[in-house]
C-alpha cells in the first residue's frame, strides 16, 4: 500500500488526528531536525535555515477529516449522531463508518425521512449508526456519547492517475508536505512543515501553530472544488489540469506578491497550473494570515471532485506538480 493510500484510509476525524499524526511522524523520521506535537495536536517539523538571510516559511496541510459524533444511544442500540465539520447530510445514509477502536457501523435513516421517498434534504436527526447491536448495554461497552466516527471507504484507483477515496481532503496535502520534506536537499530558508488539526471546524490548529512559529510566509496546501463535471457549478478549475494557485476564496484573498511568485515559479519549471477562485469554502490560510501582526500567505490547491464525500477524486499528476512547486518554493523562498 502506498503512502497516499495509508494516509487517506487512516482514521482521523477532527479532534482525533493522532493516528494520522503517527503515520506522518514515522515518515518524517530523519528528514527534519526537530519534530514535535504542540498542545492542540499539530505536528510540526522544522528544517532550520542554513543561512541567516533565510526566510521563515510555514507550509501547512491539515490532518483532520470530517466526521460524525455520537449524541445518544437508544434502547435498541442505535447511535444517534451529529456532524463534526461540514458534512452534507444527503451524502451520509448507507455509508460505512468506523470508530477509533475499530467498531464499524452503517448509517441508517428512518424510512419515512429517506430522501428518495420524501422531498427535501434528510436531517441528521432522522439518521442513526447501526453497529449491529440489539440493546443499549451491549453498545455501551464499545461506544460512548462523544465518540467520533470517520467514514470508512478504502482508496481506489479509477484509472492510472486518478484516485478516489475519503479524506483526500486533506491527506493529499499532508502527502505533498511529506514528499517535499523527502526531496528537499538543502535550503537557505527556515522551513516549518505544519500538519494541522481541526481545520474542518475553522482552522483552529493552524491558528495556534502559526502563533508559535511566527512565520514571514505561509502556504496552505489543500484541496479545491472543480467545475469540470456535468452541470457543475461554474468554476474554472479542472482535475488533471495542474496545481491550482488560489486567487481568493470565501475567507481569504491571496497576497498578489505571493500569487505572482508562485505563478512565475510554475512557468519557469513548466508545471501545469491554473488559477482558482473558490466561492464557497476556505482553508487554514484564512486563519494563518491574521495571526499576530499578519502573515503573508498563499494557497496551493489540488483540484478535487466530490469534496466532503467518501469518494473524493483527484489526479496524481496534479499532486506531483504541487510537490515540485512547493519544493522549489522551499529552495528559492518567496520574495
Amino acid at each position: 500500500m502506498g503512502l497516499i493510500e495509508v494516509l487517506c484510509n487512516a482514521y482521523g476525524p477532527t479532534g482525533r488526528e493522532h493516528r494520522v499524526r503517527g503515520i506522518i511522524e514515522k515518515e518524517l523520521k530523519g528528514l527534519c531536525s526537530d519534530v514535535y506535537t504542540d498542545r492542540l495536536g499539530n505536528l510540526i517539523a522544522h528544517r532550520p535555515a542554513k543561512s541567516k538571510r533565510g526566510q521563515k516559511i510555514m507550509l501547512c496541510a491539515h490532518m483532520d477529516e470530517i466526521g460524525l459524533i455520537v449524541t445518544y444511544i437508544d434502547k435498541n442500540g442505535f447511535l444517534r449522531f451529529t456532524n463534526v465539520g461540514g458534512v452534507f447530510a444527503e451524502r451520509v445514509p448507507y455509508q460505512r463508518v468506523v470508530f477509533e477502536n475499530g467498531t464499524t457501523g452503517i448509517v441508517g435513516i428512518e424510512p419515512s425521512k429517506d430522501e428518495s421517498k420524501s422531498s427535501g434534504r434528510p436531517k441528521f436527526e432522522s439518521m442513526f449508526i447501526d453497529v449491529g447491536a440489539r440493546d443499549r448495554e451491549s453498545v455501551q461497552r464499545k461506544v460512548r456519547v462523544g465518540d467520533i466516527a470517520s467514514f470508512s471507504q478504502q482508496l481506489v484507483f479509477i484509472n492510472k492517475k486518478c484516485i478516489a477515496g475519503k479524506a483526500i481532503d486533506d491527506r493529499i496535502g499532508c502527502y505533498c508536505l511529506i514528499e517535499v520534506a523527502k526531496r528537499l536537499k538543502k535550503s537557505i530558508h527556515d522551513i516549518y512543515f505544519v500538519f494541522s488539526v481541526q481545520e474542518e471546524v475553522g482552522g483552529r490548529g493552524a491558528r495556534t501553530g502559526a502563533y508559535a512559529i511566527e512565520p514571514a510566509y505561509a502556504l496552505a496546501v489543500d484541496v479545491t472544488d472543480t467545475g469540470d463535471t456535468p452541470e457543475a457549478y461554474k468554476m474554472q478549475v479542472s482535475v488533471g489540469k495542474g496545481v491550482a494557485i488560489k486567487v481568493k476564496d470565501s475567507g481569504f484573498i491571496t497576497n498578489p506578491i505571493i500569487m505572482d511568485k508562485l505563478a512565475e515559479y510554475a512557468r519557469t519549471l513548466s508545471i501545469p497550473h491554473q488559477f482558482e477562485i473558490l466561492e464557497h469554502g476556505s482553508t487554514d490560510a484564512a486563519f494563518i494570515q491574521l495571526v499576530k501582526g499578519g502573515v503573508m500567505s498563499g494557497v496551493l490547491s489540488i483540484p478535487t471532485r466530490y469534496i466532503h464525500s467518501t469518494s473524493e477524486v483527484c489526479d496524481l499528476d496534479d499532486v506531483n506538480g504541487t510537490v515540485e512547486l512547493l519544493a522549489h518554493v522551499c529552495e528559492k523562498g518567496l520574495d
Binding site: 477532527t14 479532534g15 482525533r16 504542540d38 498542545r39 492542540l40 499539530n42 459524533i69 455520537v70 449524541t71 445518544y72 437508544d74 434502547k75 435498541n76 444517534r80 451529529t82 456532524n83 463534526v84 460512548r144 456519547v145 462523544g146 467520533i148 481541526q198 471546524v201 483552529r204 490548529g205 491558528r207 495556534t208 501553530g209 502563533y211 508559535a212
Partner: protein, 340 residues
Amino acid sequence: MLQDLKELSELNGVSGDEIRVREYIKKRVKKHATQISEDPYGNLIVRKGPEKGPRIMLAAHMDEVGLMITGIEKSGLLRFHAIGMMPNVLMAKRVFIGKDKVLGVMGHKPIHLAKEEELKKMPKTKDLFIDIGMSSKEDASKVVQVGDYASFGTEYRENGDSVQGKAFDNRIGCFILLRMIMESDLPAFYSFTVQEEVGLRGARIAANRVKPDVAIAVDTTSSGEWPDDGDTPQYPALGAGAVVTTADRSVICDEKLVRTIRETAEREKIPYQDKRPMIGGTDAGSMHVAGPGVRSAVISVPARYIHSPLSFASRGDILAVEKLLRCSINNIMGKEREWV
C-alpha cells in the same frame, strides 16, 4: 442558603454591563487573593498561590443574557434588542430598566382584544415592545434612555436541593470560583470574564493575559430532561452531577484533560455526566486557541430554562462541580511535568 449565589444571581449584569458583578466579586475575594487584576475590557483575574507550576486558568463569565433599549416610540413604548432569548421566553415578562430599575412589562394584546389568528401566532422578537406605563415619548424619556440595559428582577429562592433564580448562566460559575478562592488554597488564575454571551469576547483577552497551560471553563448547560414518551435523550439531568463536555460548537476539548477529569470523578466518586455534544459554546472556545494553544475543557452545572427569567439548578450539582474542579486541579498539580 447559598448567600453568595443569591447575591450574584440578583445582580443585573447583561453583556457589557458587568460592573456590579465585578465589584461584588472583587469585594468578596480581597482578603483571599494573592493578586487581583482588572483588564481594560472588564475581565477580573484573581490569582491565588505562587506563579510557579502549571498555569491553570478557570473561567466563569459574569455577564447574563438580557435586553438593551434601542428606541422610544411616540407612544412612550420602548423598542429593544435581546441577546440570546426566544420571543416565547419574553412574552408578558417583567423587566427592570437602567440603573434606577424602572419597571416595565413586555407589552402584549390582552385576550379580550386579540383576534383569533393572533392567538395562534407566536410573535417575532422584533414585534415585541416594553411598556413602562407612560403615554408619551416625552414622559418615557425622563426615566429611560436609549442604551439602557434591562434584565429580569427575579428573586433568588431555595427549596431543598433546588436553587431557583435568574442569571444562573453564569453566576453559578462565578459562585463556584468565588467559593474556591475563599475556601481553598488551590493555586490558579480564577478569571471572571465579560461578554461571553455575545461571542466569548472577554475570555479571549483574559487568556492572552494569563497565558495558561491548562484552561477550564466553568459554566451552566441546558439540562436535557423533557416530558417525552419516545426513546429520546434525557441528559444531562438535574441532580445527576457535574457535566463534562467532549465537544461543543466552540471547542473540541483536550482529550487528555477530559480523561483526567473523568478519571478524577470516578476515583473520588463525584457524580458526573456527559454534555450533549456539539451544542452551545463557552469561554473554552476562546481560550483553547489563544496564543500557541491551550489544553482546554468545560465543566458545567446543568440548569433548566437558562436564557430565561427563571432557572432551576441543583445545589448538589453545584457542589459536585466545585469538588470535581478541586480534585482535578490537585491531580494536575501532582503531575506538573505532564502539563507545562
